[in-house]
Symmetry: C2
Subunit: 285 residues, 2 copies
């Protein structure tokens, strides 16, 4: 029996996951309401089928893969459709949201009678030549999504309730994107003070592996910075308002916001970051 | 002709540097005014000679190696002694201070007629079996301190005015200690959410070199966290009050302050960090 999976939305990650699933014979629905022609084309190229919310509510598994700021709104929309259609899908929140936010999403989905799985995606979108990211899942219904392994997804169970997978995603992203953020801030400050070449030389001498990581991570970050703003605020929420490092992630959110604005505007900071990386090109990864 | 070098204060770095210099035949003075018996013993073991400020003002080279919060006060004290004694030493500020602070220190020293060199120390204190840290120096008088190479110090000239060496130190420390800080914050948050083992497993899978670095850096940080508080605030000042990442370094200052208090108190967070590192011991580096 062929599975029907719905993936919202057909962004870079969502459509790449869809392509993997359709390549293994699954039917993959998505919603194209209000989306651009380019997005519709990307969804089509990935083998996705445009569907309305009633059809999406009838899928076996619904994957929510959206920017973190849209995760709650999408959950409300899905819960409403599932309630109307009286279906019983498994809804999987794959978004980079805090433990608190995913708890709220679980309540919204549970109110429709659907099963809920917490998930965190770590890694780059799947490509034909590349195995794809890990989907860490937690909660009592993880057994209902292990079937996705047969369709080519790397599903890994995290022991623990809803929230454990999101906590893993938050803490991993908090380290990985935090490293990129401190490096970006310091490269820009060193450049302004005329010390960028000396900084690069010293990193090459004493931290060659970290420098190699930054040479990949800084160009990769620039075109994604706008998306990371909300994710940094979710990590701040994950720490809690009274945690001494809460400010750190609010600061990262502002830094990524600043870089995203610079990328669309003067590109002064972007040019300095790329000069540091030397020979790197934005978004090449 | 034997050189006379003064080093203030005889802390962990200062006394290790002194030991290297005395081992190569230099006379090394220090001030023990108001210092503990343990510090006096450490200075003695390093071959340092206790001296008053008048004697220190007569040294060929004076190295200021103190916590960043004490750098300006020490500069004022040295300038007063040099003015009184009408001597002409080279004063080298080796402290982790912002470009703005080192500019202020330069003015204070210049008012006494002494020559001034900006320096930043990167690396661990020298040990008999270990070549020691790099001393990056900048400013117009760097030629007056290259003689320290003959005494076993790794002196590296950064092209640029006073401030360039400090900018290198700030940006390097901002990356290196910033990486440790984001990891500490996320390990503690993951531990609280029950996701620490999953976080470690995922880092081992996808970022093994970063994990190896953290296994060294986290235990090394704990006993030094109290010293890093003021250094993080210097880095925030280096970025400037309006920089979007300014908040990040204020947050790191609060995090290190929190960890330092925990180390002296309940040791809850310290225990969680050490459990993550597994088999690591605090301050073993």
């Amino acid at each position: 029996m062929s599975m029907t999976i719905a993936i919202l939305a057909p962004g870079a990650m969502g459509s790449a996951v869809a392509q993997r699933l359709t390549g293994r014979g699954a039917r993959v629905l998505t919603s194209l309401e209000g989306r651009s022609a380019a997005t519709a084309q990307r969804a089509h190229d990935a083998g996705m089928i445009a569907a309305d919310d009633a059809e999406i509510a009838c899928a076996d598994i619904i994957l929510s893969i959206v920017p973190p700021s849209e995760a709650v709104t999408l959950a409300e929309r899905l819960a409403a459709a599932i309630t109307r259609e009286q279906t019983a899908p498994v809804v999987v929140d794959c978004n980079a949201v805090s433990v608190e936010t995913v708890g709220k999403i679980e309540e919204i989905i549970a109110s429709s009678g659907a099963r809920f799985v917490d998930a965190g995606i770590i890694g780059f979108p799947p490509r034909p030549v590349h195995s794809g990211p890990a989907f860490f899942v937690s909660g009592e219904h993880t057994g209902d999504v292990t079937v996705l392994r047969d369709l080519g997804l790397d599903i890994r169970i995290v022991e623990g309730p809803v929230g454990a997978a999101s906590a893993l995603k938050m803490s991993y992203a908090g380290i990985n994107k935090g490293v990129t953020a401190v490096a970006a801030a310091m490269v820009l400050a060193a450049t302004r003070a005329g010390a960028a070449d000396a900084l690069r030389d010293e990193l090459a001498r004493s931290q060659p592996q970290l420098l190699a990581k930054l040479d990949v991570a800084l160009p990769d970050m620039v075109p994604k910075a706008y998306r990371w703003v909300a994710e940094m605020r979710e990590i701040a929420a994950f720490l809690g308002p009274d945690h001494p490092a809460n400010l750190v992630y609010e600061g990262f959110a502002r830094l990524f916001d600043h870089i995203a604005a610079d990328e669309k505007g003067a590109r002064t900071d972007v040019a300095q970051l790329m000069a540091f990386v030397k020979g790197g090109k934005v978004g090449e990864v």
